[in-house]
Amino acid sequence: MNSLRDKYCIVGVGETEYSHKSGRTTRAMAVEAIRTALGDAGLRPTDVDGMLSYQNNDSTPSPWVAPDLGIRLNFYMDVVGGGSSTEALIGLAMGAIEAGMCQTVAIFRSMNGYTEFRIGGTGARAAAPARGLDLAQRPFGMTSAGQNFALTFMRHMYDYGTTSAQVAHVKVAHSKHASQNPKAFRKERVTVDDVLGSRWIVKPLHLLDCCLETDNATCLIVTSAERARDLRQRPVYVMGVAGRVSKPRVDFHWAHGPISRVAGYYAKDIVFPQAGIGPEDVDITGSYDAFTFTTLLQVEEYGFCKKGEGGHYVSSGIIELGGKRPNNTSGGHLCEGYTHGMSMVIENVRQLRGTIDDSCPRATDGVHTYDYSEGRCRQVKDPEITMNLGWAMPATGSALIMRR
């Protein structure tokens, strides 16, 4: 397997507020997120000459955003996609730079995911005609992400005895982390009973098994390790990346089981050999948590536990701050806000720098208390390697391994 291990870095990260009322365009939010990331990296706008974004006809494309920042582009591409795009685009940015097309790439996602285009398919999206492959699902009342994924989750419960209470621990853990994250949209800690007592959305998913919907924009900046050494932040190196790896029959993935298997089963064989490490070497995971179940399924497939033992893994304390391998220390999509995967990569970059933006008075200087009680610290002590597990759907996923 070809590898660009340690040749590229994430040098800047930034985001806007997570809210239910941005009151502005995705263009305005994108500009703020990119400006913040430039400032974080210590880059001038003229240092950036590449741009990538992802969207579902719900955002502003790169060529509209770049002029607002004084950026002249040598390369840009705005791709269709949601979850799993962040990791894939980091790989594409590395490829574009490696090919000599550009030198430094800003990747952004900007979405009014609450006030304009709700991912669940409510509003205008619910009214769109069904044609082509949609005819295999939508006429039966199967439209939203939750409805599309629930068959997979239910079958996992059948195959392995996974319980609703075990899965609820994902929300519990992420809510603890969010309580230490001043920018989290939902900071309150919840219990297993809170999750199980919340109303049903689509069984086996309760309301609190589902992620938030928010307005926000996020950005991260990729450049070569050589250039990264001269910039403001401690470089975070990309060790391995896999993008939108898919199961067979991805058009109708239930045709090729086991249906409780997800795409990480295939992605792990790309990303771990590139990085030259195994799951036991990973200090922090960032797992796409569109739903509680998506974290559980992915930690299994990437080998953090045996297949079928995800219920035990997520309810054992391993994934909590202070545990062996914390997951989504920001609170993730379940609690911090919903930004189609990029926020969990941003969080891991800050973890590796040692400069998590928690409530520790000297957090930005890298001074932390490691007191994980409510409202306090969320910096993991001296993490060396993080891994992001990106999810588009059961049949498609991406992965990213980074080191400090």
């Binding site: 669940g120 398919g121 409510t122 619910a126 009214a127 005609p129 069904a130 044609r131 082509g132 492959l133 005819l135 295999a136 699902q137 939508r138 006429p139 039966f140 009342g141 199967m142 439209t143 939203s144 409805q147 629930a150 068959l151 997979t152 239910m154 079958r155 419960m157 059948y158 609703s164 109303r199 049903w200 959305i201 689509v202 069984k203 086996p204 067979p248 029959r249 058009d251 109708f252 239930w254 045709a255 090729h256 089981g257 086991p258 249906i259």
Partner: protein, 168 residues
């Protein structure tokens, strides 16, 4: 192009150039559940796609199947997204594994199809009746002269595998 079909507030579009779905739904309107069968390797596939997913041959014929199968997984939609489904909540969506071609060509593969679990009269089945492992047969929901939806209803056949539903 045939008239678009309105179904629970949703517009179903099957243009003339989409022979896969147009012919599939026309067979369903004649109350036949059909799969495309590859002329080269003989394997059937669902959804009715253009090329064989195993050997990529472009030749095919329609093959009627028994419409009998087993619930492989299910979900119950309590909070409907599509407005036209709100008055039938909670409604079950099932993934049915058909009896034909199970575990072929590899043990993980089968002809699986998404539908609603309905009562014999076509109304949505009670959620308490839904379970993985239960046996079902196809029934047809006629929506227009040229289109019907294959749906599934429970049978009294003995399940051949473990029956399980989400605990209350």
């Amino acid at each position: 192009m045939p008239q678009p079909v309105q179904h629970r507030g949703l517009t179903l579009l099957v243009p003339d150039n989409d022979s896969e779905w147009a012919e599939y739904f026309a067979h369903a309107r004649a109350h036949r559940l059909v799969m495309r069968r590859c002329s080269a390797c003989g394997l059937m596939r669902y959804p009715p796609t253009h090329a064989c997913p195993w050997c990529t041959d472009l030749g095919w014929t329609w093959q009627e199947v028994s419409g009998r199968g087993t619930i492989h997984s299910y979900e119950v939609v309590v909070h409907a997204i599509q407005p036209g489904f709100r008055d039938v909540t909670p409604y079950p969506v099932v993934l049915v594994e058909l009896d034909e071609q199970r575990g072929v060509p590899t043990p993980d593969e089968a002809l699986r199809i998404v539908a609603n679990l309905v009562k014999p009269d076509g109304r949505m089945e009670d959620e308490k009746a839904v379970a993985i492992g239960k046996r079902v047969r196809v029934v047809f929901e006629d929506l227009a002269d040229h289109l019907a939806l294959p749906q599934f209803t429970l049978t009294d056949e003995r399940p051949e595998s473990r029956v399980w539903r989400l605990p209350e």
